[in-house]
Amino acid sequence: MEKKRDRLEVIRDILRVIQTGSGKIKPTQILYKSNLSHGMMKDYIKDILSIGLAKETHSKEGRTYSITEKGLKYISEYKTIINFMDSFGLVPNEKE
C-alpha cells in the first residue's frame, strides 16, 4: 500500500529539488538532494520527463533540469492527488 504512495511522494520531492535549483539543476545535485540510488533516480527522472513535469536541457554545462508549469501544479495539487486516490480506493498493488 505504501509503495506507490512513495512513488508520488518521491516525484514531489524531486520536483521540489528542481524547483529550488532556480531553473537549472544538474542530475548530480538531484541525486545528492533526493537521497536516491543512481538507478532509481534515472527511472524517476524518466517518469517525470515523460509526464511533462520537468524538462531537460542540454548545454555546455551538461544536462540540466527545470520545472514546468505542470510540475508546479503537481506540487500544489499533491495533497489532492493522494486524498483522491485514498478516498476512492485507488491505491495500487503492492507488487507494482
Partner: protein, 226 residues
Amino acid sequence: MECLHLIPGWFVGLNILLKIILLIFTGVIAYYSLKIYRLSNQKELKFFGLAFSFLSISYFITVWINIFFLSIAGSNIRALDIDDIIGIKNLAVALYILFYMLSFITLFYITLKSKNLKIYALLIFLSIIAITFSYDKSLMLYLIPSIFLILVTYYYITQYLASKNKNTLLVSIAMAVLLVSNLCMISIPNCILPSRYVFSAFLEIIAYSLIVFSLFRILKNGKKTR
C-alpha cells in the same frame, strides 16, 4: 419485442431531469479523475475516470431515449423496449447497455488491481456475450452490474475498514445504494411494477450525490492544505 423497463407517465419528465443531473455528476467525477491522472500518470486514475465517463455517456443516451424512444404501454405508462427491426432506437438502447455495463466492469477491474488488460478484455467480452444471447435482456442488464457492484462494495468496505477514511465510507455507502438500485430493477417481474423504476432512479441520485460529496470534500481539503 422485449421490454427493458416500464416508467410511470408522470415520471418521464422528472426522469429526464434526474438523468441530466446524473450525467453532470458522473461527468464531473470523470473530469477530476482524468485531470489528476494527467498530472500523476497513475493508471488507476485513468480507469476510474473511464468508468465514470462511460456512466456519463450512458446517462446521455438515456436522456435521448427518454425524449425520443419511449413507447406507450398502457394508461399513463411508458416502456423502453427493443424492437425486432434494426433501427436508431435499437442502436441507442444497445449503446446504452454497452456503456452502462462497461462502467461497472471498469470499476470492478480497478478493484482487481491487475495490470493484465486481458482480464479486462475477458470481462467485457463475457458480459457482452451474456447479454447478447440472453432471452431476458432486462434481467441481464441489471444482474451483471449487480454482481460487479457486490464485489465493488465489498472492496470499498474493506478499504474503509483498513483506512477509516470518511470519504471511503461515503463511497462504500454509495456503492451499496447503487447495488440496491440495480437489485430493484432485477426484481421487476416482466416489467409489471413501473413504480420500482422510480424508487431505483431516486436511489441512483442518492448514490452519486454521496460520491460527488466525497469529491467536494477532497477538493475542499486540497485547497485548505495548499
